[in-house]
């Protein structure tokens, strides 16, 4: 479980995060949702320590991460897998080298074991056989999936995905959602997913944190999010006419 307490973060005059408190539970897919520019990515980076929060603390299974030194942080980071919003693949390396990199760096696996692991990860994201391509030769959606494969190659205990299915076609998006959910349940890991995609919210959101104006505005699960009368949430969930029609028909049924 990851616990976030009273996080504040500013960039100059821009106060992005205000007193964020949250719990991300083990064995569940925890979503962070919210409109663009509300600080979701910044929050995630504060949680994994890429940004130092101005105040507050983050703990991983009870260990206070924020105040560890470099080497102690490293031990926890080896258990973190992260998918960045822009994939962040190493563009001087092939797909295979990208996924193999953490294995080479931190395990004593043999070449054969590493290769097996790479192929296993590629298979999970439906990209078998792309080993020798360079990231620049892959489409945006492929890059996302390769980045997921890299994030899971070390069997992380904590998995962070920043918009895993933005820019993917609906079918691949569902494949990715299912993959994230499967991995989470199968290995009992703590997964945090940032998303805008209402489909994902309904499909995989075990717990949902709604960030608005840099504050934790609302928390709940996927059933509650549909029925809540919180104004901002409703505006977010029912932003499209299509979703509004669905709500209308649901309300009709209820009557």
């Amino acid at each position: 479980m990851i616990e976030v307490k009273n996080i504040n973060k500013s960039f100059g005059d821009n106060h992005v995060l205000h007193d964020i408190n949250a719990k991300f539970e083990k064995g569940k897919v925890n979503l962070i949702i919210g409109q663009s520019g509300q600080g979701k990515s910044v929050l995630t980076k504060c949680i994994v320590g890429l940004h130092q929060p101005d105040t507050g603390s983050v703990s991983y299974d009870g260990v206070d991460f924020t105040h560890l030194d470099r080497l102690e942080k490293k031990e926890i980071r080896k258990q973190i897998g992260m998918l960045f919003q822009g994939s962040a693949l190493f563009d001087s390396m092939t797909v295979e080298e990208n996924i193999m990199f953490p294995l080479t760096m931190f395990t004593k696996m043999t070449k054969k074991e590493k290769l097996d692991r790479v192929n296993f990860c590629l298979e999970r994201v439906n990209l078998t056989g792309t080993n020798t391509l360079f990231p620049a030769e892959c489409s945006g959606g492929m890059q996302k999936r390769i980045a997921i494969a890299r994030a899971i190659s070390m069997n992380p205990k904590y998995l962070f995905c920043d918009e895993p299915n933005s820019g993917l076609d609906p079918k691949t998006a569902i494949v990715i959602d299912n993959l994230i959910r499967e991995i989470t349940y199968e290995y009992d890991i703590t997964t945090v997913v940032i998303t805008h995609d209402m489909n994902s919210v309904i499909e995989i959101g075990d717990t949902i944190l709604f960030i608005h104006n840099g504050r934790n505005w609302w928390m709940g699960d996927r059933k509650e999010i549909i029925t809540t009368d919180n104004k901002e949430i409703s505006e977010f969930v029912y932003a499209s006419d299509f979703m509004q029609e669905i709500r209308a028909s649901m309300q009709d049924k209820r009557k």
């Binding site: 994994v48 470099r70 031990e75 980071r77 962040a88 693949l89 190493f90 760096m105």
Partner: protein, 244 residues
């Protein structure tokens, strides 16, 4: 300025930590020797040959006094090549080539979050990326400069032959007269310092790039300018310290 120097020193402190895995480090080192060193051979060769040619021609054209023996041409060409032209001018050119290359490579990795990705895995990104570059340059720049010295002398000879200004024997006598080995040591000491300055300064500008592709370009420019200035300043002090 001072906060920059503080940040720079702190960066070096982290860069010089023990590499995670010897095997990975060795592989990175060879990559960088290839990228920074071997790939610079053509430009160094071209520059050095022409530089030597011009030095020899200029010396020959300035030899009006009948009291100056003809072998002075070879002597002057050798001294200026070894003392100044090869180590300093070639390093300045490498500051342009290698500096912009290093700064933009690291800057791009920074702005596309590749450096964040390394950090998240638990890799010390500064040491992983920059240490092999610094070491590669410090090891291979002297090789490049010795190579440059040789070619510059050849260039001088070629130009004299083509212009018919001197004979091979006299030129060679000039090259061999009053030779002091310590000059080579001085030149290579300078080279090592310049190599370190070029790569560490451009890594610094690359690593602390903020923003997007445009800012990567700006960092590369800043890197080249600062590295060149650093070379000139260091050259002045090193010369004072070693030669005087």
């Amino acid at each position: 300025m001072f906060s920059n120097i503080g940040k720079f020193m702190h960066m070096l402190w982290v860069v010089f930590s023990k590499p995670e895995k010897a095997g990975v480090f060795r592989k990175r080192l060879f990559e960088e020797i290839q990228l920074i060193g071997i790939n610079s051979i053509p430009i160094v060769a071209l520059m050095s040959t022409f530089m030597g040619g011009v030095i020899a021609l200029q010396t020959a054209s300035n030899m009006d006094s009948p009291f100056l023996p003809e072998y002075t041409i070879g002597y002057i060409t050798r001294s200026s090549t070894i003392l100044e032209f090869s180590p300093t001018i070639i390093s300045l050119i490498l500051a342009g080539k290698v500096g912009s290359n290093v700064a933009s490579e690291i800057g791009t990795m920074k702005t596309t979050e590749q450096i964040d990705a390394l950090e998240i895995m638990g890799v010390n990104s500064l040491s992983h990326l920059i240490l092999p570059k610094i070491l590669g340059a410090v090891l291979f720049f002297p090789v490049l400069i010795i190579f440059s010295m040789g070619l510059s002398l050849v260039g001088g000879w070629l130009s004299l032959m083509l212009a018919g200004l001197s004979s091979t024997e006299t030129y060679v006598i000039g090259l061999r007269s009053f030779f002091e080995f310590s000059n080579i040591v001085y030149a290579l000491t300078k080279t090592v310092v310049f190599a370190f300055l070029i790569v560490s300064i451009s890594s610094y500008y690359g690593y602390y790039t903020k923003g997007g592709a445009l800012d990567v370009g700006k960092s590369a420019t800043k890197a080249v300018v600062s590295a060149s200035v650093a070379i000139l300043v260091a050259n002045f002090f090193l010369t004072q310290m070693i030669l005087l």
